[in-house]
């Protein structure tokens, strides 16, 4: 069977033109996806049953037992942490927020370790953004700043920028200029018209200098700024001002480096400055396929996009204090539920030390680095493969992922709903 227009549940591009061939309950071929997407669709070695740590061994348990374990763990905790959420659908994320509120825990998603600072900047100065379709059809200048789409979002270039047709561009390949700004010459830099190489930690200074140059205050700028010559900065500023429609896409190279959200704020303010001369927009290259969705769901349910602490019965938000890495590093939680992410693969050692000291339950289809820290792991269906649900593309467009095959696994939402029901009963609701 061939399933057309499947949605790739890997990166924030959420490509919705994938063809998947299914035979005997398995994906046997994938067309249109990049290598990352294909690997995800073809993924194997899924865990069969829920497992419980029993001394130095794993014991298989039923799903009901696993769900009961998780519910009791969360109900007993004084400050449970519910973390992850970027690798699951919005409907499951909704249940997660209800659960966090019911047990008065902290709910945080993976944006606190990726584009959380971008959101902080947006909260300070707003977000002049647009959809990917607008960029594809109109942008004659695209800037990738601290992002390397060839590696991380392989089809971004072919679907929306460098290699894409544009409705309002006569010859998109010739008319669309690409600038890459980075601390090293990435593969994406090789296909750029202009490459700006910045010394590590120098993004903020370069952005400030560009803002001043766009305002015509070039004389104040030193001869070089963070390794970039004033001449090149003036050239870049002129390219931007003379574009009809410019789009900046920034990645973790800007968000997670020195200055963090202030870098993004500065980039947004540069875009605002350029919009006094022409049309300019800016957007984040979101990583996990539904990390944007976790921000959306959290925001519409709690008012805040990530790092929400319900300890006192109301939502309190303060990244740096209520975010998973900070809480774990300071040992400020006493139980953790992990859904749709693999913190042990990315978090600092201090966080993992605390994870190893508290009860942890994980919902994930595959054994991963976090499995080693779990007391219980519950395998679930993979959204976009054997479960469906809503995900948000990196530009905020909601896309319904499709189920391309059926399996016996429950979806994240179904498992979480079972937990939530037990917790409601325990609370007499």
């Amino acid at each position: 069977m061939i399933v057309k227009d499947a949605v790739c549940p890997f990166c924030g591009c959420l490509c919705d033109d994938i063809e998947v061939e299914v035979e005997g309950g398995r994906v046997v071929a994938v067309t249109n996806a990049c290598e990352l997407g294909t690997t995800k669709f073809m993924g194997e070695k899924r865990m069969k049953n829920p497992i419980l740590r029993d001394g130095n061994q794993w014991k298989e348990i039923t799903c009901d037992e696993a769900v009961r374990y998780a519910a009791d763990m969360l109900l007993d905790a004084e400050r449970p942490l519910l973390y992850g959420w970027s690798g699951t659908h919005g409907e499951a994320q909704c249940v997660g927020v209800h659960m966090a509120e019911l047990v008065r825990g902290v709910i945080d998603n993976t944006s606190s370790v990726c584009h959380g600072p971008s959101i902080l900047a947006i909260q300070e100065v707003g977000h002049p953004g647009c959809t990917l379709g607008v960029v594809k059809n109109r942008a004659d200048l695209v800037i990738y700043w601290g992002s390397n789409p060839i590696d991380a979002h392989p089809r971004h270039l072919s679907r929306y920028t460098r290699y894409a047709e544009g409705f309002f561009l006569e010859n998109a390949f010739r008319d669309r200029k690409v600038i890459v700004v980075d601390v090293r010459r990435t593969e994406t830099a090789e296909i750029a018209d202009e490459f700006v190489q910045i010394k590590p930690g120098g993004d903020y200074a370069v952005l400030s200098a560009l803002r001043a140059i766009v305002q015509g205050k070039t004389e104040t700028i030193p001869r070089t700024v963070a390794g970039v010559t004033r001449e090149q900065l003036v050239r870049v500023a002129n390219l931007c001002k003379s574009a009809k429609f410019g789009a900046v896409y920034f990645g973790l190279g800007l968000t997670m480096t020195r200055g963090k959200y202030k870098n993004i704020r500065n980039a947004i303010e540069l875009v605002s400055e350029l919009s006094r001369h022409t049309k300019f927009t800016i957007s984040a290259m979101r990583g996990h396929y539904n990390v944007y969705g976790s921000n959306e769901v959290n925001t519409w349910m709690t008012g805040y996009p990530f790092g929400i602490d319900f300890s006192r019965g109301i939502a309190f938000y303060n990244p740096g204090e209520t975010t998973a890495v900070d809480i774990l590093a300071r040992k400020e939680c006493d139980a953790a539920l992990i859904v749709g992410s693999d913190p042990a693969a990315h978090f600092p050692r201090r966080c993992l030390e605390h994870l190893s000291e508290i009860p942890v339950v994980q919902l994930d289809p595959y054994p991963n680095a976090t499995t080693a820290f779990c007391n219980v792991q519950i395998p679930v269906a993979v959204t976009g493969i054997d479960a469906e649900g809503t995900a948000y593309r990196m530009d905020g467009v909601p896309i319904r992922t499709r189920k391309v095959l059926s399996s016996d696994y429950l979806s994240d939402r179904e498992v979480l709903l079972q937990m939530y029901t037990l917790m409601q009963e325990a609370k007499g609701q």
Binding site: A77, E78, R79, V103, R104, G105, L120, Q123, E124, K199, G201, G202, Y204, A205, L207, S208, A209, R211, A212, Q215, K217, T220, I221, P222, R223, T224, V225, A226, G227, R258, G259, K262, R265, N266, E269, F310, S311, R312, Y317, N318, P319, G320, E321, R330, K331, E332, C333, D334
Partner: protein
């Protein structure tokens, strides 16, 4: 009236305790107060040994003295409007949030957000202050709007972020982005710091040491004499059409 609160050793010692009830005014009505450890509400006497000497009917006559391991005690002195709090050790995050009057003295180190969005009064920290000392809140346009914060040790990153009025003095070094987005008030760093006054609109920032990673968008005006020191005066942040004053003893661009 002197209220002494000695923190009892806790079983779940790492879960932070939120204690915004610890403000001098509340003790005028007794000590029947509560604090929160995670999602559990606890009576004040479950967490502290309490003793009260003398009495008072004005907040100015109340002093609260905290001792024991108070480094994970958050929000002490929040909305404080008079009296004095003395903390003999370190203090957790958000000490003196929104305070408008009175004095808080911390003999040890203070964790993040010391004196966040403070409007008046005095905070003295004898040790180091962590990130966001005397700063604003996430997404907020105005940070500190009045009062004085004096830190005798070092301060972390984002010191006095978005300060609109009031005075912040740090006797040691400060971290990155001291005085970011400042649009009023005075910030004085006796030691070194990096990228001071980024995106400033107005106000005065003094760095008596070296400004590392000096931003390229400050225009040099000349030199001035200030309290016996020769300082270089800049104006900016011109990227933000700012007209603030930045005075530094020395500076280094990241060039």
């Amino acid at each position: 009236m002197k209220v002494t609160l000695v923190m009892k050793p806790a079983t779940k010692s790492f879960i932070p305790i939120e204690a915004e009830s610890i403000v001098p005014k509340n003790f005028l009505a007794g000590t029947d107060l509560s604090v929160w450890r995670g999602n559990r509400e606890l009576r004040l006497d479950e967490v502290f040994s309490i003793s009260v000497e003398g009495d008072a009917d004005r907040v100015e006559d109340v002093e609260v003295v905290l001792s024991g391991d108070t480094s994970r005690l958050k929000r002490v002195g929040e909305y404080m409007d008079g009296g004095k709090i003395t903390i003999l050790g370190g203090i957790g995050m958000h000490c003196g949030n929104f305070m408008s009057d009175g004095t808080i003295e911390v003999h040890g180190n203070a964790d993040g957000w010391l004196g966040r969005e403070m409007a008046g009064g005095t905070i003295i920290c004898r040790g180091d202050a962590a990130d966001y000392c005397a700063s604003g809140y996430r997404g907020g346009r105005k940070g500190m709007t009045g009062g004085t914060v004096e830190v005798f040790g070092r301060a972390g990153d984002f010191l006095a972020e978005s300060i609109a009025a009031g005075t912040v003095i740090v006797h040691g070094d400060a971290g990155d982005m001291a005085g970011a987005e400042m649009h009023g008030g005075t910030l004085v760093v006796h030691g070194n710091c990096s990228r001071p006054a980024a995106n400033m609109k107005s106000g005065s920032c003094y760095v008596f040491g070296t400004a590392q990673g000096m931003l390229p968008t400050f225009r040099k005006v000349g030199t001035i004499q200030h309290e016996g020191r020769t300082l270089i005066q800049f104006t900016g942040d011109i990227a933000n059409r700012g007209k603030g004053n930045l005075f530094v003893k020395d500076y280094k661009y990241l060039d």
